[in-house]
């Protein structure tokens, strides 16, 4: 299915057949471009960036590479092809035909889901807008920009749904998506992690590894939705999301590689010595990891949630890989283990599975994350360095759910405020850590050159060589 590029807004949804919708989106488009000019990557409008653009949603067409100025990127609306006779796979409507229009009684909940998902997309562009000034290579700069334009496209995907299916409310929500600002006191983005700063590339790589992976799991759950347009939209978004996680996973692997090389060259694991040698010590990376991990698992919401139960039973949001699970897909009588505090300990108890769906998705996410951290640890193994990264306990540093505000050590012990104060400097990034990492940041703009603190990747983008001019500054 080819995408119609002769249109002002490239799309594969037959936009030209719906004049009202087309006009509404054409009205939103300049507002989006204004937002991009204000809040998109800083000072980048004239750069030619070697980007991939989707020209169709089939495998051959969605990764076309060429130089593009980002404001000219063809943001558009692409849905995966419709499955004929798709049925709802879970909840009270299991077995009924998937909805092509929204059932009136589910409108409010669906709108909330679409708005919450949509809000994260421009938020991350805002969070990352200054990173281009300190990219460790042209290769990395290009990857950042690729992520930024695709987050922009994901915003378009959600805005299309708002305009097409939610009437006037939807149009107002679409405007509001361009008005909230990440980290703004008065009008912040909806979710906490998207108001945090992404001040340096270590944070950026961890953000794309952890937080974009949250995106993957949320999108996977929405790809099961009984509301077919949402399912088809999110399926295509997932293909793009994979690149974002790749940037994070490989970025951290390259930082670890560089640190290990320097540790071996100088036969030292002393953080102060390693800092004087210009690389990031492994304990600091562990502290950054603890922060991003704990902030991200908050995004899955409260461990017990009646909203989550409603979303599932009404067929709006499924579980991760719903169709591969072998239970009854209704979950009325099922239970699921959740953590809770009992006295001075954290214990496991069985809760109604429907209410524990956030926790289930969080656990699926954690499993995926652990596998990735395991691959990072191979870098240390291969270099003969005796250090393993770990993820902290699920209750560590949580702001949402039953552990919000509870002082829990990374190993899962409930501790006193005094013990927390004593330990926090070895658990979460310190001001010194942040200042040191910040001191390493500086733009490397010569093709084929990489900043000292990060190893080159094993291969270039789209089989281009590493010294390819991925970005032309003009």
């Amino acid at each position: 299915m080819n995408i119609d590029y002769s249109q002002k807004i490239p799309n594969n949804v037959g936009l030209s057949d719906d004049r009202t919708l087309q006009r509404a989106l054409e009205h939103w488009q300049p507002e989006f471009l204004n937002w991009w000019a204000d809040m998109g990557p800083d000072g980048s409008a004239a750069f030619d960036v070697y980007l991939r653009t989707a020209v169709s949603v089939d495998p051959a067409g969605w990764a076309n590479f060429g130089y593009v100025k980002m404001p000219d990127y063809r943001w558009g609306i692409f849905l995966n092809p419709a499955e004929t006779d798709r049925r709802i796979g879970f909840g009270d409507h299991k077995g009924e035909p998937a909805w092509q229009e929204i059932p009136g009684e589910y409108r409010a909940n669906l709108r909330r889901i679409v708005v919450t998902q949509g809000d994260t997309e421009p938020a991350s562009v805002e969070q990352q807008r200054h990173l281009g000034l300190t990219a460790p290579s042209l290769y990395d700069l290009r990857n950042l920009f690729q992520i930024n334009v695709e987050e922009g496209r994901h915003l378009w995907a959600m805005v299309y749904l708002l305009h097409r299916y939610f009437g006037r409310d939807g149009r107002e929500e679409a405007e509001a998506l361009l008005e909230r600002r990440s980290g703004d006191q008065d009008n912040p983005r909806i979710l906490g992690a998207f108001n945090e700063r992404t001040p340096d590339w270590l944070s950026f790589f961890l953000f794309t590894f952890f937080t974009d992976r949250d995106g993957k799991f949320q999108l996977c759950a929405l790809a099961e939705s009984g509301f077919d347009p949402l399912a088809r939209t999110t399926r295509f978004m997932l293909t793009e999301e994979a690149h974002h996680m790749f940037v994070g996973e490989s970025g951290i692997a390259r930082i670890l590689q560089r640190t290990c090389e320097v540790m071996n060259q100088h036969k030292t694991d002393d953080p102060a010595t390693l800092r004087s040698l210009g690389v990031i010590d492994l304990p600091a990376i562990q502290r950054y990891l603890n922060f991003h991990y704990s902030v991200t698992i908050d995004l899955f919401g409260a461990d017990l949630s009646s909203n989550a139960a409603t979303f599932y039973s009404t067929g709006i949001k499924g579980r991760f890989e719903e169709s591969k699970l072998t239970d009854d897909h209704v979950l009325k009588d099922a239970t699921y283990p959740v953590l809770e505090i009992s006295g001075s300990e954290i214990v496991t108890r069985e809760a109604p599975a429907l209410n524990a769906l956030n926790e289930k998705l969080r656990d699926d996410y954690i499993r995926d994350t652990l596998a990735g951290v395991g691959r990072w640890n191979k870098v240390m193994q291969k270099n003969g360095i005796d250090f393993q990264l770990t993820v902290p306990h699920k209750a560590f540093n949580r702001q949402i759910g039953s552990f919000a505000g509870v002082k829990v050590a990374p190993d899962g012990r409930i501790i006193s405020a005094a013990d927390w104060e004593a330990g926090v400097r070895s658990w979460l990034p310190t001001d010194e850590d942040k200042a040191y990492v910040q001191s390493l940041m500086g733009r490397v703009a010569e093709p084929g050159k990489f900043a000292h603190w990060i190893a080159p990747p094993p291969m270039g983008i789209n089989k281009q060589p590493l010294d390819f001019e991925y970005v032309r500054f003009n």
Partner: protein, 404 residues
Amino acid sequence: MNAPDLALQHVIDPEICIRCNTCEETCPIDAVTHDERNYVVKFEVCNGCNACVPPCPTGAIDNWRHVARAQAYTVEEQLSWDVLPPQTASTETAETAIPEEVQRLTAEATAGLGTAVAAPWSAEKPSVNLFTPRNPVTATVAGNFRLTEDGASSDIRHIVLDFGGAVFPVLEGQSIGVIAPGTDANGKPHYVRLYSVASPRDGERPGYSNLSITVKRVDEDHDGKPVRGVCSNYLCDLRKGDTVQVVGPYGTSFLMPNHPGASLLMICTGTGSAPMRAMTERRRRNRASGDGKLLLFFGARAPGELPYFGPLMKLPKDFIDINLAFSRVTGQPKQYVQDLVRARAADVATMLSDENCYIYICGLKGMEGGVLEAFRDVARQHGFDFDALWPQLLASNRIHIETY
């Protein structure tokens, strides 16, 4: 030759893969599977369609191993990998992947497309990399003919290579690699050099294991500075009966469509004519009613410099529509292929818009921009936007460029 039953096995590099599931989601025939540790490709199921290759965010997917069919890696073996096995691990004859130098030359030649374009949907499936630098095949020179006139500024030759008993299957548009004997100034073996095959798949002489290539003697670089091309001079000096070490074949995309009604728009200069000659000859030998159109634009300095000028002129007008551009004929204005493309705007516009027409551009890098610019003008004249068409040409594998 008692060759084992070799196959190309698709594998995924577990060191680069991020387990994002995109390949498994994309594969149209469910050839990809995974466990907690690895994503792997089922050898018996994968048909090498490459649908999973462009969506892979890491490049881990694009790995291939030559294996004896009976000894292909099982799913269980692959699931246990931490790293890819070396190319030679499982069989004596299994060898390395496409040589890096060949990959580099290919990437350079096809850079103008900006993306990987696959072969036309109806193209025959090519064989690739049957013979490697460590395991080349020996060919015998069956003929070496000068194509340019004696007084011409360039020495371009038509060289016929015979493989004797060895099987060396090629398709029109593929290349072979030649490694000049001896070593370079640093004592290293010479790099492999690529030459497009100029004969159709059944051979220069049908029914025998042979093929022809078109070779220009390199005596100056792109800027006109004198430089002696090692491989081209070696080839141009060969005599009948000499032997040559050949590797390949290479090339999986610059291939001709085979479905009835498919037409070809071919634009070339100099030795870029080799694949056009191969495709044209394939069509001439298999003429059928219902064949699509052949439209050729061919540029050279002068008629005496144009390879295959004589034989081209003998082809029937109702078989192929030939347009020759000469840039250095005394007393005539300079003419380039793009000028003729503009002059034939109506026909070119029709072919650009025809989904059964496949476009091939081969020759010097310098002509690429001019030709695409001419396409833009032609399209504009006929009420469409070439830049809007471009992504569709790429997506439907209708445009193929090899320039050097």
